[in-house]
Symmetry: C2
Subunit: 242 residues, 2 copies
């Protein structure tokens, strides 16, 4: 019947939109990655939930599509937004085999925006989001995008900046950015956005290059105008000069 | 006292997050651009609201800061997200003159995500947001960003694609993109996202070049892998090939 692909925001229950919460409440069953399903269970204990593990994206989406195709109302939950590095694209790709699953995408607040709000207001001007994970994207393509985003003076948010197997990826990304931006460029990162143990730091691009972050962290690179005001990372848009 | 800079999402009341709604309810006064204040008034008729007109961003932010500095709890509302082409950056910039205004940024769902969800799932991979308005940004910088985003094969969302004074800006942007992308690149646009009269269309970059859109429209340019599946605009992330 119906498959909602729902962005639930980052961390805190209160970061979800009203329409996303309504879709979850309306659904017969909630499908998602183990970590997000545990979160959903704590918010909506009465709901039937099914989870699949990390890297089982295809299995997870097919499970949700099959249940919807067979007549259930299903919510497939994604952290942050349902499109941005989420499951909505794959659901449409696989949906051709499940003609009775009617897909509706419900957006959410992605980590670039919820993490940015913790740091101040870095994402105030033209911006680029780049994932450093090369599980699904060739490294050459990621490096080309870093280079283009730096050259275009975009504010940049880096998703998946590190993992056990990719400990030096953030340093390598910073080396590319440092070809176009000064080492004093204002940067920041937020770990565990909206969750217990949330922490953030503002630092320079030069310092970021030698800083270790983990996979629960989103990294922010300012543009050439980004500055620190009262301890906050702020990108001006230019209104002040009008 | 307290100044919440609140992203209220696009159009529909249900696109707001729970924390954004709570901040509005908690506030003594709501400040915003006339159009959004009319919307807030229809949602929360009991609230005291103050509005300023288009291009009065500085006056609007100073009004909100002054009220908070004088002891009120104030919500300054922005369409979509509070950072992305919103007021949060300017609020921090001007806050140095209002030391008792404690600013908290509350993010929201920006048009790239809410509009993308209407079209399908275009924003599934690395993405760039670019505003075509040259009121606050030199045209050369906008053109450089278009060129870099196209060269990096980002999915692109264009904000402020047109206005009465800038009727040909979208065509000029498409001409830059066409140097790097084929004219068959999948594109789309959504007008009046989440509002009455919402309309959307999927078309090629070649067709988009010769299409007139208005200032209530958000435009989406696919990357080299974006395709149309069952009438939806979909950017794959690569999970299918894992």
């Amino acid at each position: 019947m119906k498959l909602y692909i729902v962005g639930i925001g980052c961390g805190s229950r209160k970061g979800i939109t009203i329409e996303a919460e309504e879709a979850i409440i309306r659904s017969d069953v909630i499908v998602g990655y183990t970590v997000y399903i545990d979160q959903i269970k704590s918010f909506y204990p009465e709901k039937e939930c099914l989870s699949t593990g990390m890297r089982q994206e295809k299995e997870r989406v097919e499970l949700a599509l099959r249940l919807a195709d067979e007549g259930s109302i299903v919510a497939l939950v994604c952290s942050g937004d349902s499109q941005v590095y989420g499951m909505a694209g794959l659901a449409f790709e696989l949906s051709v085999s499940y003609p009775d699953a009617d897909i509706e995408v419900i957006p959410g607040v992605t980590a670039a925006l919820s993490g940015g709000a913790v740091l101040g207001s870095p994402m105030t001007h033209d911006l680029a989001l780049i994932s450093l994970s090369d599980l699904l994207t060739p490294m050459e393509k990621i490096e080309k995008r870093l280079q283009c985003a730096a050259e275009g003076d975009f504010v940049i948010a880096l998703y998946n900046p590190s993992s056990k197997k990719r400990e030096d990826y953030l340093s390598r990304a910073c080396d590319i950015l440092l070809k176009y931006r000064t080492s004093s460029t204002v940067c920041g990162y937020v770990r565990n956005i909206g969750r217990e143990g949330q922490e953030c730091r503002i630092l320079t691009l030069g310092e970021l290059r030698d800083t270790a972050v983990d996979m629960f962290t989103t990294v922010f690179i300012g543009n050439s105008e980004t500055k620190v005001i009262n301890g906050k990372m702020v990108t001006p848009r230019g209104y002040r000069n009008v």
